[in-house]
């Protein structure tokens, strides 16, 4: 698993606050552009004028804006975008070699989901929005797709609309996925302002955990969430926006998964995609594991039925975050290998498995904390 941020050693910092840099190994960047780059420096190749310097070894020379990287950051490559703070904060924001980058827009949220992988924080972090506005300009124009997530990005209101507009104008060819609880779209005027941006390829990924309002509200730990989320989905579709419904499967959602999918087919059939996702054992999930854990192998027939119903109504459906040996064959057409960097790891039981290359594998957190008791190598 990649470590994407941390505290690192630094010296001679000549800027205030945070700055974004492209990573480069190329000493011959034209002078006029050098200030935008963090140059990977060693004892032999120092050149003047770069915005900052990164080194993996002790550098004898007295270099300005020098950050010393631990070996775990060796993944950095030409063109990646990083953020450096004047107090030694380091974050890799955009990795060119990754098929999919997600920008965290805020850690604030009006949900408090039992299984949140990114537990919300209360303090003002609106600088993340400013940062995103800048990053958008630095991302290669040929980037195929990327995501915005949180927290709840729409809490910025007009600020989020502005970011979306900037993204459309700057990266018109980049597919965009926005993870949101959808509640802000219950307000039609907000939905209209989003629709007016007319992003050509933006999908709003919205969680729905139950057809039952009480249960949905319980899972997201927020009152009135269900009605606002449903209303938000209806408004988004009324304004022709793309919507993906995301259902995380766990002990609190599995009993009504079929009824929930039926509800989707009866009321929200016009959504563009439904994602049925296995549990990631991180964030709040670890604290609530007893309330949430259910072995995927035990619910595989329920998953099959849920997929069958969604398929029947021609709703494009994907199953994420499951291992091949925990699902029935009939869901294979909908089965997706994960695209994230920190998945596709395997456990000892997988040794010798013939289907590893087709399998989504595990979150590293799952391997660490909890995974199915029924993992079995395919002969």
């Amino acid at each position: 698993m990649l470590k994407l941020y941390g505290k690192i050693d630094f010296k001679n910092i000549a800027f205030k606050g945070w700055k974004l840099f492209y990573v480069t190994f190329n000493p011959n960047i034209p002078d006029i552009l050098k200030s935008q780059f963090a140059f990977i420096v060693d004892n032999h190749n120092y050149k003047k004028g770069f915005g900052s310097y990164l080194s993996f070894e002790k550098v004898k020379k007295d270099i300005p804006n020098l950050f010393t990287l631990k070996n775990e950051f060796q993944y950095l490559s030409e063109g990646d975008v990083i953020r450096l703070d004047d107090n030694g904060g380091y974050a890799c924001i955009f990795r060119l070699s990754s098929r999919y980058n997600t920008l965290l827009l805020t850690e604030q949220c009006n949900h408090y989901c039992l299984m949140c992988s990114q537990p919300p924080k209360k303090q003002d972090d609106s600088w993340l929005l400013d940062q995103s506005m800048k990053i958008i300009e630095m991302i290669p124009k040929n980037t195929e797709s990327m995501g915005f997530s949180g927290g709840e990005p729409t809490l910025y209101g007009e600020g989020f609309v502005n970011l979306l507009r900037r993204t459309k104008l700057t990266l018109p060819n980049t597919g965009l996925d926005v993870l949101t609880n959808g509640r802000a779209f219950a307000q039609e005027s907000f939905t209209k302002s989003i629709a007016d941006v007319a992003h050509p390829n933006c999908t709003f990924g919205i969680p729905l955990y139950s057809h039952d309002p009480v249960r949905h509200n319980y899972v997201v730990q927020a009152e009135n969430a269900f009605d606002e989320t449903i209303k938000g989905i209806l408004n988004l579709k009324a304004y022709n926006q793309r919507v993906e419904i995301r259902v995380v499967i766990h002990k609190q959602t599995i009993d009504h998964l079929i009824e929930t999918c039926r509800y989707i087919t009866k009321n929200l059939i016009f959504v563009d995609h439904v994602a049925l996702m296995g549990l990631e054992i991180t964030g709040f999930t670890r604290a609530n594991l007893d309330k949430l854990w259910v072995d995927p192998y035990e619910y595989k027939n329920i998953l099959s039925e849920a997929v069958r119903i969604l398929n029947h109504y021609n709703i494009s459906t994907s199953v994420y975050n499951h291992q091949l040996c925990t699902v029935n064959n009939d869901v294979l057409p909908n089965y997706q290998k994960s695209i994230s960097d920190w998945k596709n790891e395997f456990v000892g039981e997988c040794d010798g498995c013939q289907k590893k290359s087709e399998c989504g594998g595990f979150f590293s957190s799952s391997i660490k904390y909890r995974y199915s008791d029924n993992i079995k190598a395919f002969a």
């Binding site: 408090y112 039992l114 057809h211 039952d212 309002p213 009480v214 249960r215 509200n217 319980y218 730990q221 009152e223 269900f226 009605d227 449903i230 209303k231 209806l234 009504h256 009824e259 509800y263 009866k266 009321n267 059939i269 709040f284 604290a287 609530n288 069958r308 029947h312 109504y313």
Partner: protein, 482 residues
């Protein structure tokens, strides 16, 4: 972690739940079907229904949550039901603004068959008298293209339509020439006895589909459909083969007509369709029109006997599927589509408002315009109640805003018809003002005596009972709704 609330926290203080409009019917001794105005349904027992309507249904009862999410009730926990009902109700009727998409042209009343059940044909060589003229065809094409529908299907009917193939060619070419923005489709309804390779070559060029009649095995078919040479069956089977070879397998469709002689042998009729590689069959009831009434064929036969025939056929088809033969019954299929989705299927005989005029319309050989095929059959019996006008003398407005069309549409709208409005099957059913007028001289009719009502009520009950009692059938039926 005390930061997290228990589920009880999210249950708002209970007030009394409110009922949304719904209807119910007994499916069996202990099973009830509850439906609402958009076709959401729930199967339950008497006790739950009693508790529900007396506002004492326990919230922990799993029925409560299901009934709430299917919009039979609403409470303080959520108020989204009305928004969703609104959308689904609109969806149910969204085909209405499409208006007329099926335009039937009776290009000739002449036929070389003399089927006793046929409503509308003449054994005659008098082309002047019984063939549609170019002038009438031309006016009819204009009317068809006036329809606001984006998809216009022109279906050639008879008599035997191929006896006036030159006019078919004229209509196809004129329609294509005059069309600016519609998706045009063409179907020739024909017994295929007089089909030729040249005709089929023309159909290929213009993407014209073929719809033919196949009543069952040779003996039955030839008995039902006499023609000189007593070879209707042989001609039809040859024609199907030739048409498939020329046009493509899926461009050829066959329908059967049920007669007295059919009733005992549904399996054999279905076998005949299997033999010719059809993907399904429409077990049609006999219509009460035309010669069928005159020759008393209709009276020999009633809806109860048809229903027995339908059941035998359907069970046989279910058995075939269980044995791995993929085959479906199309009438059931149409109804299942209504049960599993909220959209109307566009099947003219099972729509409400009725499909007459606004889904399909008939331009008769003599220029008269009828609200439906059955309407023109009735006219052949001397009752021109459903004649909307004439293409030579009336405008589009005259015809489609005529009282002859609007009155039966309005009067027969099932949601407001006595006994239909409270029927649990209303959202899956339709209204048939022509049938009811033919049998009772009233667009609404008397439902307890209506064969239409008897037939459909029984079919609906049977479908729900079969799905409820057999998981296999539920899955099979669900696949038929596609």
């Amino acid at each position: 972690m005390s930061k997290f609330q228990e589920i009880e926290f999210y249950k708002k203080p209970e007030t009394k739940y409110e009922l949304l409009p719904f209807r119910f019917i007994n499916l069996s001794e202990d099973q009830l079907l509850l439906t609402n105005l958009v076709g959401e349904y729930y199967l339950t027992d008497r006790e739950v229904l009693d508790d529900l309507v007396r506002h004492r249904l326990d919230r922990e009862n799993s029925a409560y949550s299901s009934l709430r999410s299917r919009h039979f009730l609403y409470d303080e926990q959520t108020s989204i039901a009305k928004d969703l009902l609104k959308i689904k109700y609109r969806t149910r009727f969204n085909k209405l603004d499409e208006f007329t998409s099926l335009h039937m042209f009776v290009v000739s009343l002449r036929c070389e068959h003399s089927c006793p059940y046929c409503q509308v044909s003449r054994q005659s060589d008098d082309k002047i008298k019984y063939d549609m003229s170019k002038e009438i065809a031309s006016k009819s094409v204009d009317l068809a293209l006036r329809s606001p529908s984006k998809n216009i299907k022109i279906e050639f009917q008879g008599g035997e339509s191929l006896l006036n193939f030159d006019l078919i060619k004229y209509i196809v070419e004129e329609a294509k020439l005059r069309n600016t923005d519609k998706n045009l489709g063409f179907v020739i309804a024909t017994n295929l006895a007089v089909v030729t390779q040249e005709i089929l070559d023309y159909c290929l060029i213009h993407d014209i589909h073929i719809s033919t009649s196949l009543d069952g095995p040779r003996d039955l078919h030839n008995k039902n459909r006499p023609r000189p040479g007593r070879n209707s069956y042989e001609k039809t089977v040859e024609g199907i083969k030739l048409a498939r070879e020329t046009l493509g397998f899926d461009k050829v469709n066959a329908i059967m007509t049920t007669t007295e002689s059919s009733l005992a042998i549904p399996e054999k009729i279905i076998d005949e369709y299997l033999l010719h590689n059809f993907s399904g069959i429409f077990l049609r009831p006999l219509s009460p029109y035309g010669f069928a009434i005159k020759t008393k064929k209709f009276n020999e036969y009633n809806a109860a006997r048809w229903f027995e025939f339908y059941k035998l056929g359907l069970e046989y088809i279910i058995k075939l599927n269980k044995e791995g033969v993929i085959f479906r019954e199309f009438y059931t299929s149409t109804i299942l589509k209504k049960i599993f989705t909220f959209s109307d299927t566009g099947y003219v005989d099972l729509m409400s408002p009725a499909g007459i005029g606004i889904a399909a319309v008939v331009y008769n050989y003599d220029g008269s315009v009828f609200a439906s095929d059955e309407g023109r059959m009735l006219a052949e019996m001397g009752e021109d109640k459903f004649k909307l006008g004439n293409v030579l003398s009336d405008t589009y407005k005259d015809i489609f805003l005529s009282d002859a069309l609007l009155d039966p549409l309005e009067e027969s709208f099932a949601s407001s018809v006595p006994m239909c409005s409270e029927c649990a099957f209303e959202s899956y059913c339709g209204s048939d003002p022509v049938y009811h007028y033919a049998t009772t001289k009233d667009f609404v009719g008397r439902k307890p005596e209506s064969d239409f009502c008897y037939r459909n009520m029984n079919v609906f009950k049977y479908i729900f009972n079969r799905m409820n009692s057999d998981m296999y059938v539920e899955k099979l039926f669900m696949s038929w709704s596609k």
